[in-house]
């Protein structure tokens, strides 16, 4: 499966709306097999739609993102895991191992998948990942 992460240096970009760089990672059988970096303007949702279709992206991992943005992506059929923070490599490591994202949740998060009582169902491995918020 292919996932997209908005990045800021080696970290997840803190605010999607102001992010400029997108990292698209191809994961096959629990291993990262390809990486592509693109620059973008967060307001251009038509660009994302095109790129995500081209690169067959199913999941977007990002920092803080406003509700409107999440709705736009969900309308495109893209699952969004918002309000994550931390180093991209560590997050990818967790991801391919199928572990939860709780260590990467932004402080004060009340909108992560666990808070919404829903999970991110991934193609591989078949499991539910949750960005558990700290209580």
């Amino acid at each position: 499966m292919n996932i997209a992460i908005t990045v800021w240096g080696n970290r997840i970009s803190p605010v999607f709306d102001a992010a400029k760089t997108l990292l698209v990672v191809e994961i096959i059988d629990g291993e990262v097999v390809g990486r592509t970096v693109r620059t973008f303007q967060a307001t251009r949702f038509d660009w994302f739609e095109k790129i995500f279709q081209e690169m067959e992206v199913q999941l977007l991992i990002c920092g803080a993102i406003c509700e409107v943005g999440v709705n736009r992506f969900e309308a495109m059929g893209i699952e969004v895991v918002p309000f994550l923070t931390g180093e991209v490599e560590k997050l990818l490591e967790q991801f391919v191992r199928g572990k939860e994202f709780s260590d990467f949740t932004m402080p004060g998060c009340r909108v992560g998948p666990c808070c919404k009582r829903s999970g991110v169902v991934l193609g591989h491995p078949v499991q539910v990942l949750k960005a558990g918020c700290k209580e």
Binding site: P14, D17, A18, K20, Q41, W47, M106
Partner: protein
Amino acid sequence: MSGKSSLSEAANAIILESISDGVFTVDHNWRIMSFNRAAEEITGTPRNEAIGRYCWEVFRSNMCEGDCALKRTMKEGKSFVSSSTYIINNRQKRVPIGVSTSPLKNDKGEILGGVETFRDHSLVEELRRELSGSFEMGDMVSRSSSMKKIFNILPQVAESDSTVLIEGETGTGKEVMATALHNLSWRKGNPFVAINCGALPDSLLESELFGYKAGAFTGADKDKPGLFEAAGNGTILLDEIGDTSSAFQVRLLRLLEEKEYQPLGSVEKCRTNTRIIAATNRDLERMVEEGTFRRDLFYRINIIRFQLPPLRQRKEDLPLLVEQFIKKMNHIKGGAVAHMSKEAMALLLVHDYPGNIRELENIIEHGFVLCHEAEMDIDHLPAYLQESGTRSHSFVNSIEDSVRISEKESIEEALRRNNYNRLAAAQDLGVHKSTLFRKIKKYQITLPTQDGRTRRL
């Protein structure tokens, strides 16, 4: 001494907790050291979760990644006041804020970190939106009294099914107004169709509007529905109605009276429930007097008439329109232009806009091609505007010169008329004699050695 110090620390803590501005401090590693109650409320992050975390994880501002005010403060060791920005709170809502930053120093002046204070501007933004909302109707914006009158009755007109006539120069927004009327009416969910009647010859216009039957003319292989059928229960805008032929006007009159039309080649009539809005940039009343527009049709379409003022008569709307077009272009083109510079706005205000709002929109679009900064400036505007700006500046100078020359000539003439008697000349000009003396000196008017007063003596 230590007692005083601890008292002031306690007092500071109380003050910090009681103010409505969010305040947090960071160390050199951008880790949050303190976080007050208002900061908790505005960001939605509890203090115990915020302390020790990187500031960008908690603050979540659109400035964090690029133009961080705190970073500039720490780098330059000075304060920055009131940058407008927004944060995303823990409920995924954008919160507009104003930010001020200062370096955090110890008694020795060493920088220990930075302090950021921020104020929630949600209410201000909400009020601003409400205020600007009262100047909006559909896609139209205006603060001018003439447009305000139109805005006041537009919803009532939209509710009715009466035919509307919109008059206005080219580019004044006739189609935008027709769209607003459609969108404010119960027909909103139905199609809105616009056609420029002046651009098509009669036969083509009729086939476009009423459609035709197979075999109606050579090449008509199958039935073609017209725009009235396509519009259904919607609205049709007949633009440039003043440019239609007399024959077409007769057909249109029949349609308006009978609510029926006949497609070309058909023997049967079709009923229509489409609302008709007519628009023109010509003076239909004058055309009726001249006999170039049918009087009966004029009275049939002139049930409710709106006259859209040209932009040069509502220049108070320019800032609002510029703001609207900047927003629109930012959305369409994905730009990041925030506003127009004062100098560029001044230049826009002196222009006469023969092309009206459409011309203004094109000017802003031109600016978007050239402007890659937050502020659109004179250099980004079309060359013809910059030239006219220079011309109007030289025109201003020439007016001042003209006034000066004219005043000098009037004084000389009055002096001659009164045989250089300065008191009589002053009375003649309706000014005090000291004013006249001052102006004689200013314009270096040479007086004869023997003036009127001397001669009289």
